[in-house]
Subunit: 323 residues, 2 copies
């Protein structure tokens, strides 16, 4: 998928050029470490793609795109502490490689750096971009808190789950896309429609992630097959199953999600219940319906279909993936 | 000291009006908790005082002043986790009252809120204020990392210690004062001189804090007498003593600062060495010389002596205190 690679290359190159650096090295090394772990760089890529819907001269949008990527990595550093996650992209997480204090503090510093990446924008662009970014950052914190709350709550409604992933994942996609549009100086209607597009794309993407963790191709990189089940992570599959299961199935599910068990038995039992209740199919239907919502908003954007083609290709790439 | 109280009342009232609030409550409660612990509110107060050097209509400067106070409290939440501090102003620290994850995350959210408090400023003021604030925030992170590094390093020079407290304490005072000046739209020369004034005031204040912890009046609120010695916290007194002590004294100091001992013996032994080496006197001389530097810069500010009187009174209040 060459257009995606083109953007990814721009981002990788720019990360090298603008990587946070300074003294004391104990503060900056962890930032460099996580930013060099790689990843698909989707969030900065969609910012550049949104900018390119309206303008060609991409230069101006690059540092803000990196700001989004820095912010995403800051949130990964702190989330990994909270989740006590040992691995990130098959490498040690920051708090494991260094220590927890360093992870808290270099996360904070990377957070500052992410906002600083907007500082080259002219004042009239800087302010709306900052306001969008800070509002989003707060929603991401709220989403993460909901996610932590859900660990100890028994019943979570479908709406509550969608609200949580909207904060934790979708709003940052929406923010990235809208910021690209703002920097390209398109009108409010276009940038608002692109925000909604990004939000529904983000929700669909996260639901697909939940699905693929359990039902995806096992050749995945950086994640264990059904890792969410091993780790008792309650995803949309779990909540759909709770809603549809009979008493016995619910009891079984609650049992398996309350114990630590690294054997295959647990995963197989849980997957069987998921399949009996057809939550795999339901999840894919949800992905479809959020994707359609996303497309509706993309269609509303007043720019040629030709220009929008790359976003339609991106949707297929993200949502027809097998891992 | 009635003028100080006047400003403190404005800040307390405004904190009540603009206290962060929202859902989920687990995220917002800890922010409210720490912001209601009180304190002298010096940082927002000096922002308002700096604004009042040039203009009377204080309204515009209040939310940015709260932003500085929010940021200060965010840094306290995260620092207290890193230092494993049980108490803050005689009350439980956030990570003890709630838990560490909540403290990390509500700290992050309060950090966002602190920057958002600038958002009412017009774009041409917003950008320079944000740039000053973000640069300061990064320096505060750097200062905290140096502080953590010093815990395990044997020799720290006087210059390194001053550099550390400049980051950890002084630049936020400098930032607060300069921001007040920027919002009042004075010229660059004035706001730069006020920055230097705030920085040296902050250094003098921190050195006085180090002094008072050990040699201050014991009727202090919220702190244990010589708490720094009990907690093996290496302050300017320790580093001055290391520089001036003979082999035997240095050995003793290093011994006492390497063990946990809650008896009076440790504190008395350490205080004796400090007194033998006259580091208490040296510390007060340092406070004096940084205070004089601060006054020099304050004198340079092009505004009537009458207007500056409140700052001179503040200096006396902060640096002639006994606790």
């Amino acid at each position: 998928m060459s257009f995606l690679e083109k953007y990814q290359n721009i981002i990788s190159q720019s990360i090298n050029n603008f990587i946070p650096d300074g003294e004391p090295s104990e503060l900056y090394e962890p930032m460099k470490y996580i930013l060099h772990l790689g990843g698909k760089r989707l969030r900065p890529v969609i910012l550049l793609m949104a900018y390119n819907l309206f303008r060609e001269d991409i230069e101006k949008a690059i540092k803000p795109a990196l700001g989004i990527e820095f912010f995403h990595n800051f949130s990964l550093i702190h989330d990994d502490i909270m989740d006590q996650a040992p691995l990130r992209r098959n490498k040690k997480t920051v708090h494991v490689k260094y220590n927890e204090n360093t992870a808290i503090l270099s996360g904070d510093a990377l957070f500052v750096k992410s906002f600083q990446m907007l500082e080259d924008l002219e004042p009239s662009l800087f302010k709306p971009c900052f306001e969008l970014f800070s509002k989003t950052a707060l929603e991401v914190c709220e989403g993460q808190q909901y996610d932590m709350n859900f660990e100890t709550r028994k019943e979570i409604s479908f709406e509550e789950y969608i609200h949580m992933i909207t904060g934790k994942t979708a709003v940052l996609c929406a923010c990235a896309i809208k910021m690209g549009a703002i920097i390209a100086k398109t009108d409010k209607e276009n940038s608002d429609n692109l925000y909604e597009f990004g939000k529904y794309l983000g929700i669909a993407f996260q639901l697909m992630d939940d699905y693929l963790d359990v039902f995806g191709n096992e050749r995945m990189v950086g994640k264990k097959h059904a890792g969410d089940i091993y780790e008792n992570k309650k995803t949309i599959l779990f909540f759909l199953a709770l809603k549809r299961g009979d008493e016995k199935q619910i009891e079984k599910l609650n049992y398996w999600f309350s114990i630590k068990d690294d054997s295959d038995t647990k995963v197989n039992e849980v997957i069987n219940i998921f399949k009996e209740l057809e939550v795999d199919k339901m999840c894919l239907e949800l992905v479809d319906s959020y994707t359609n919502l996303a497309k509706e908003y993309l269609n509303k954007v007043k720019v040629s279909s030709e220009k929008k083609q790359s976003f339609f290709e991106l949707i297929d790439y993200l949502l027809l993936r097998e891992s």
